[in-house]
Symmetry: C2
Subunit: 400 residues, 2 copies
């Protein structure tokens, strides 16, 4: 226990709709997965002596998949790795990707093996009502308490309790699109104004269309290694800590009210404590902005600003790429889109590119970035909290 | 790495159809999961100082589930463990349950934590065509190459190549039902004759209805602990080794022909090698008999008998509870039914009961049982091999 864990290769596909309609190509989900893995392999090969057949174990995050297929297996088969690399398919709703990375991190930290692969992939385009699902087990969801409705209630409550303004909610999207305009892998890359956001179609008052992340398709992959292996690479990024918790999932609102997430606050506390870091130490964050209000709650739960001041924090621009606490330099879920299993892995890919000053992200480079945190929240159909929360802290402070 | 791992508590529900029709109760899948976990907790409490809130981590195996729910979370919530015990939901088709147990085993072996929970749960009743699924990605499955068809082809090939008789296939079922008649948790408990099996409805020639495992509902749970914790318990069972591999999943038949499983043979070789044991050392096995021919292939791949002689091996009775190599004392998938995520965990529950001479299984106790192996195969819709294979060797040879 306690061995160092490092990222030695990352890759992702464009996040978009690959459903074969409207002139878009159809790409099956396992081919997206294979593309991301191949890019991560090539990235590792570029920076050190890497042999793909030496990957010891892998986790594939995917929420929607053919039941009897091994979805991760189909991706590995594309690369000739099947029968060589074991794969465990994991899911924890929107936190699935972070979970996959976490599993590899803890395995390597424990000395189970030296090289692990975490990948996430998802194809949501063509599926209707992906987010409202959960119906059947839960009468609330069946009656319309879909994700959008719940986040709208969170937003209303936040506005009521703290005086958060709809313009502040809109500002989250304005910044997200500005960041995404510099990210070729993002789906929505047109810059927008507060006016544009507020005048887009109303989905669940006060959340307009632009304040809801698109459901789309994509994949991302991360190759992790023990210190022994990582030492032979040019620019490894260190995993400071990784955590996966189960949320409180009660039928009552969480403690502290629905305008917050008990689970996210708890997750961040554990991350800070385990890594011996404080909110001040974090250079930038990739947070779970499935809806505009999500980003506001995230900066509060991460203690980047006091509770209730998340709206102001965005309004004042601290969260821009050139601000003092950039949030979602990738454009986040709001602009990249949210192919469930892929999202948490994509966040880590972004963090790694940022921390190694990769040419890949030169237009959106966070200056002097040293420490990053990524987090996702999973589930939340039943009750007002989440099913799972996962987070990872990475840094480029390498001391061999 | 290399710490001892022990089972300190096991539990399972009855495997049956809990779908609310024909006078049967409706029990949602997470309540089945909770019931199995609670039984495992009570089992641990009975044999040592156990505090359920001290479970460090858990894996839940489930194949079919509400997408946005955390299925494992819903089970933990029933027991007040949510927000305390992290849960990773895993799936590898029919090998999901074995995978969940394996993940906990390797975590504890690596010293990641001291107490882990592996559970599996599934509700297939009411679902049509659970096994043929995979349609969409795979044209063969869409055209009717469902599991039953593939196993029928395996059986025909085995008969052609080795002279295996349909009466030998039927004998597998006769023994399965005889074992199940002593297992109150099994679904099909009436003893049958070779005649009964062969005259049951034809499903896919030569496989008649009784030669196909029923799709049903159920859950099973296993609590594992490090040596430090296990020492305080009365009758822990040792995990000798656990393995999860990805299968070869090609569009061509596997090497050696479709009458065998390259992946299962490979899995067993790894299990024997890692545990420093031979087929001779195994007292009994719980194998993946989704169809009668599956059990015959399994005893061959496990090297309990030479290749091609699996039919004769059953016919000669080696495989009966009082034989020299009992197979599926529980009744196996053919009689217990096969709620996908639960099956691999249930096999471990059976192995533990047998190895500790638990009163629970007094009518089907394998005499002098010391070492057991469990194995499941997952997937197999695409191509003629499987997506994943998992196996676990357990023993009651405890030396502190």
């Amino acid at each position: 226990m306690g061995e160092g864990v490092y990222v030695i290769g990352v890759g992702q596909t464009k996040f978009d709709r690959f459903d074969g309609t409207k002139g878009r190509p159809y790409i099956p989900v396992h081919k997206l997965g294979a593309e991301a893995i191949l890019k991560a392999i090539q990235d590792a090969e570029k920076h050190g002596p890497f042999d793909r057949t030496k990957i010891d174990y892998s986790y594939c995050a995917i929420v929607f998949s053919g039941y009897m297929q091994g979805p991760g297996q189909l991706a590995l088969r594309e690369l000739g790795l099947l029968g060589r690399v074991p794969v465990e398919n994991v899911k924890n709703a929107c936190a699935s990707g972070t979970g996959a990375v976490h599993e590899v991190c803890q395995d390597i930290a424990a000395g189970l093996y030296d090289i692990g692969l975490a990948f996430g992939m998802e194809q949501l385009s063509g599926r209707r009502g992906a987010l409202p699902l959960g119906v059947g087990l839960d009468p609330e969801a069946t009656l319309g308490m879909a994700m959008t409705a719940k986040y709208a209630m969170r937003a209303r409550r936040h506005m009521f309790k703290y005086g958060t303004k709809i313009e502040q909610l809109a500002e989250v999207v304005v910044q997200s699109r500005d960041h995404a305009s510099r990210n070729p892998y993002a789906m929505l890359r047109d810059k927008v104004s507060i006016e544009d956001v507020l005048s887009s179609r109303m989905i669940a008052d006060p959340l307009t269309l632009f304040q809801c992340c698109p459901s789309n398709d994509g994949a991302a992959a991360v190759i992790l290694a023990s210190e022994k292996i990582a030492k032979e690479f040019e620019n490894p990024i260190k995993i400071e800590t990784s955590v996966l918790i189960s949320g409180n999932y009660p039928s009552r609102p969480t403690e502290g009210g629905i305008e917050s997430y008990e689970s996210l606050a708890r997750l961040m506390d554990i991350l800070y404590k385990k890594s011996n870091l404080t909110p001040k130490d974090i250079s930038f964050a990739e947070v779970h902005d499935a809806f505009s209000i999500g980003a506001i709650i995230a900066v509060e739960c991460s203690k980047f600003c006091p509770k209730g001041e998340g709206g102001k924090f965005f309004e004042e621009g601290h969260t821009k790429i050139d601000g003092d606490k950039p949030i979602n330099p990738s454009g986040g879920l709001l602009s990249c889109g949210h192919p469930l299993g892929a999202t948490g892995v994509r966040q880590v890919v972004e963090a790694v590119w940022q921390l190694r000053r990769d040419p890949e992200i030169k237009d959106r480079q966070v200056k002097d970035a040293e420490i990053a945190v990524t987090e996702t929240l999973g589930g939340g159909v039943t009750g007002m909290d989440v099913a799972a929360a996962g987070g990872i802290i990475l840094s480029n402070r390498i001391k061999w």
